[in-house]
């Protein structure tokens, strides 16, 4: 078993799929020769050729639209949008086209496109390099939405995304590209080699889409989180001193309701955590689902801990970020509520 950071794991997933499946093509801004601004496609063009790993013009709408066309013509495109914050010029192509092509043609046409895009804050990126827009995409029927929290899951889920026949928006929490991050920016960085999720097989394997994972078993309260916030939740649980069960949602759409709700039915309490803004955020869907499925087991109202409902401010990212203290406070609230 090798140790990989998330960048290497994602790179390995694409490398393997380029090798295994001649239909796979990888492209995006600075993705080819340079290997991507986060180095996720480093070396892939050199190895697989410039007809399979391509640089593109700076035009996100063009990238996604071209991916759809390629997908319709039998390829399996893996398109990178350099930052999730840049995805909006492609919004029409994602929402009106990519997501609905299969439906509107009654299955005759479809485009198996994977859109990879780094998301989340904590890198001093200000409002245009820090966003977590997953909730905007989970609201669109016809696309799958994935966000891994470890290199192991990143590789397995990306391979599943590429292999699948449905379009996937694959969010990569860039704060944890190089190591798990527990929400304290003043602590020294921890490498992935020190985390079990950094143990990644060199070869092919998949992590199924549509399956959540219990990353910390517990009995007092269930924490639903994904991406960077899984690690922050772990720190918060230590801080609060509660026996929490942390569920890494991993696939936001379609949602693994059974795993989530079995956990809440067991613990009777639930805290939902995400970095994205709160109002109409993905957490609202989680809360609604838990309420519908687990109401009679709940001992306290479900709490949400999220980014504030403002753009991500450059100067105050740690005041904005829903860190361990805020999560711990919510844990305390649900524990004391009944």
């Amino acid at each position: 078993m090798a140790h990989m950071n998330m960048v290497q794991a994602l790179n390995s997933a694409m490398d393997i799929m380029l090798e295994r499946d001649p239909r796979v093509v990888v492209f995006g801004e600075d993705v080819g020769y340079f290997g991507g601004v986060f180095r996720v496609t480093d070396g892939l063009q050199r190895k697989h050729g410039e007809h399979r790993v391509l640089d593109t013009p700076i035009a996100e709408g063009g990238i996604v639209a071209a991916a759809i066309g390629m997908g319709v013509n039998g390829l399996k495109p893996v398109a990178e949008i350099q930052f999730a914050d840049y995805i909006y010029p492609a919004f029409d192509q994602v929402v009106s086209e990519l997501a609905r092509l299969r439906y509107r043609t009654a299955g005759e046409f479809s485009a198996p496109v994977t859109i990879r895009t780094p998301c989340g804050g904590g890198i001093r990126g200000g409002q245009t390099h820090s966003q977590s827009p997953e909730g905007i995409f989970t609201h669109v029927c016809g696309i799958k939405v994935v966000m891994p929290s470890t290199p192991y899951d990143a590789k397995g889920l990306l391979i599943s995304s590429i292999e699948g026949d449905d379009p996937v928006v694959f969010f990569e929490p860039k704060r944890i590209y190089n190591g798990p991050f527990d929400g304290d920016p003043h602590k020294p960085a921890v490498p992935w080699s020190a985390h079990p999720g950094g143990a990644v097989p060199e070869g092919y394997y998949t992590v199924p889409i549509g399956r959540a994972e219990i990353v910390r078993p517990g009995s007092d309260v269930t924490v639903l989180a994904y991406g960077t916030m899984v690690h922050v939740a772990e720190a918060a649980v230590r801080l609060a001193g509660v026996d929490a069960e942390i569920v890494d949602v991993r696939t936001l759409a379609p949602l693994d309701v059974d795993t989530l709700c079995s956990s809440v039915n067991k613990t009777g309490r639930c805290v939902v955590v995400h970095e994205a803004t709160r109002f109409s955020g993905y957490g609202a869907e989680l809360v609604a689902t838990v309420q519908e499925e687990c109401f009679w087991h709940l001992e306290a109202p479900i709490q949400r801990v999220t980014g504030w409902d403002t753009p991500y401010p450059h100067a105050f990212e740690w005041e904005y970020f829903p860190g361990p203290a805020r999560i711990a406070a919510a844990l305390k609230t649900v524990m004391e509520a009944a």
């Binding site: 020769y33 450059h314 203290a325």
Partner: protein, 435 residues
């Protein structure tokens, strides 16, 4: 052989380790391109898009019909602005490297594009900049302290800590807010210009975009709207050859110039030597005159070279030859204007050295003052609670509540999430667990 298509991959003439090769840059001799009247029809102007307007020749003399015949004092002001822009950039880059600020983007080698254009426009003209035309701020007299405070996200930051460094704005100076998303300003400038025309004003808008981001749909929105309504707008494409790691061929510049997109949309396109202060001044002045006479928009391609990295997060040695800038055939805009002034007998090496020293001292003094209002590493700092302001004009209740939650957390006075608790207490108790 059966005919079959093959994907064309644009390839830059030189990669790391290669000898720089700019033979693809078509250069007209200084003074060679005719200067039609600014009222001329688009058809008469078509050839401007394929040539290169240049005024400063190899002998540093100003020649030809595009010579704007500026007074030596104006040229000296231009030189000063360009030099100040460069020294400011250098200082900010160093401060980023020292960890005092998070990020920076230099405009080294492209100073004429901003400074000469800025000087050719009127103070009431509205500027919609990209992130690499800081010379516009300098021309309009923006205090460097204010620019530095923005870069520092400190207590005097015009953006109140909300934007990354270099994303300035200046209402009083008629300079719009810089966005971190590319190309968005291009069609917005057109809308501003349409409003000026609707209101019957004589102000115009000017906007800048990189050749790389001219691939965005927003570029094409701007071109269509500007031409349909003959909006009084100057649309500048700064072709600095590199968009992070992709060269201008990846934006569509391999076969046709960017200026030729102008005639394609029905507006004049002018290709200009972007490192020639006089040429940039002259074409901007020409386009402004045309716009003010209801002649509509002009697309200007400024041919220049991004001598610096894309940003402090970039390492260009990975994708282009290290010394490429030294081989750039259009030289250094500052040095070219300096040599021109010396040729005119209006400047000397001694005066240049003295100016550099004076500006360097000015930048140092500005930095000292700006840093006293806070840096990334030292206070004072802005009040984080201000992050909830300006999301809306009036703060809605949910933001008032979130702001209070933040205050509670940071001051740890009432226990965290106290209001949540309070609210909960007033709700009916949850139903008991089943079984």
């Amino acid at each position: 052989m059966t005919p079959r298509s093959r994907l064309h991959i644009p390839y830059p003439p030189a990669r790391p380790g290669d000898k720089p090769d700019f033979s693809y840059v078509q250069i007209s001799p200084a003074g060679a391109v005719p200067r039609p009247e600014s009222k001329a029809s688009v058809r008469e102007l078509e050839s401007l898009a394929g040539q290169m307007v240049r005024v400063l020749g190899e002998d540093s003399k100003a020649v030809g019909p595009w010579n704007p015949h500026l007074e030596p004092q104006d040229l000296q002001v231009g030189l000063r602005h360009m030099l100040l822009t460069r020294l400011f950039d250098d200082r900010m880059q160093r401060m980023q490297r020292q960890g005092r600020m998070s990020f920076y983007m230099k405009s080294t080698g492209e100073e004429a594009v901003a400074v000469a254009a800025g000087m050719a426009l009127l103070p009431g003209d509205m500027l919609f900049p990209s992130y690499r035309v800081q010379g516009l701020q300098v021309v309009r007299g923006r205090s460097l302290v204010e620019l530095m405070c923005q870069c520092l996200s400190n207590t005097r930051d015009m953006c109140k800590g909300r934007q990354m460094p270099v994303m300035y704005h200046w209402g009083a100076g008629n300079i719009f807010s810089i966005s971190g998303n590319l190309a968005t300003q291009f069609p917005q400038a057109v809308g501003w210009a349409m409003a000026a025309a609707i209101k019957g004003e004589d102000r115009l808008a000017a906007t800048w975009i990189g050749e790389g981001s001219s691939a965005e749909a927003d570029f094409h929105h701007a071109m269509t709207f500007a031409q349909v309504y003959r909006a009084p707008v100057i649309l500048n494409v700064v072709n600095n050859q590199w968009a992070i790691s992709t060269f201008q061929g990846f934006a569509g510049g391999e076969v046709q110039t960017f200026a030729k997109r102008g005639p394609g949309y029905g507006m004049p396109g002018i290709r200009v030597d972007g490192n020639d202060f006089l040429a940039v001044y002259a074409v901007t002045q020409w386009a402004a005159e045309r716009a003010r006479q209801s002649g509509g928009p002009t697309l200007i391609e400024h041919v220049t070279y991004r001598a610096a990295a894309h940003s402090t997060s970039d390492d260009p040695s990975r994708y282009r030859p290290k010394e490429e800038w030294k081989a750039w055939p259009l030289g250094d805009p500052i040095n070219r204007l300096k040599q021109h002034l010396i040729t005119l007998g209006e400047w000397t090496e001694e005066r240049h050295a003295a100016l550099e020293k004076e500006l360097e001292a000015h930048v140092t003094a500005c930095w000292k003052e700006a840093a006293s209002y806070g840096t990334l590493t030292e206070g004072p700092t802005l009040d984080p609670a201000t992050m909830f302001e300006d999301v809306y004009k009036e703060m809605p209740p949910h933001l008032v509540r979130q702001r209070q939650q933040l205050l509670d957390l940071t001051h740890s006075q009432p226990p965290p999430e106290a209001h949540e608790q309070h609210d909960l207490d007033r709700r009916p108790r949850p139903v008991a667990k089943e079984g």
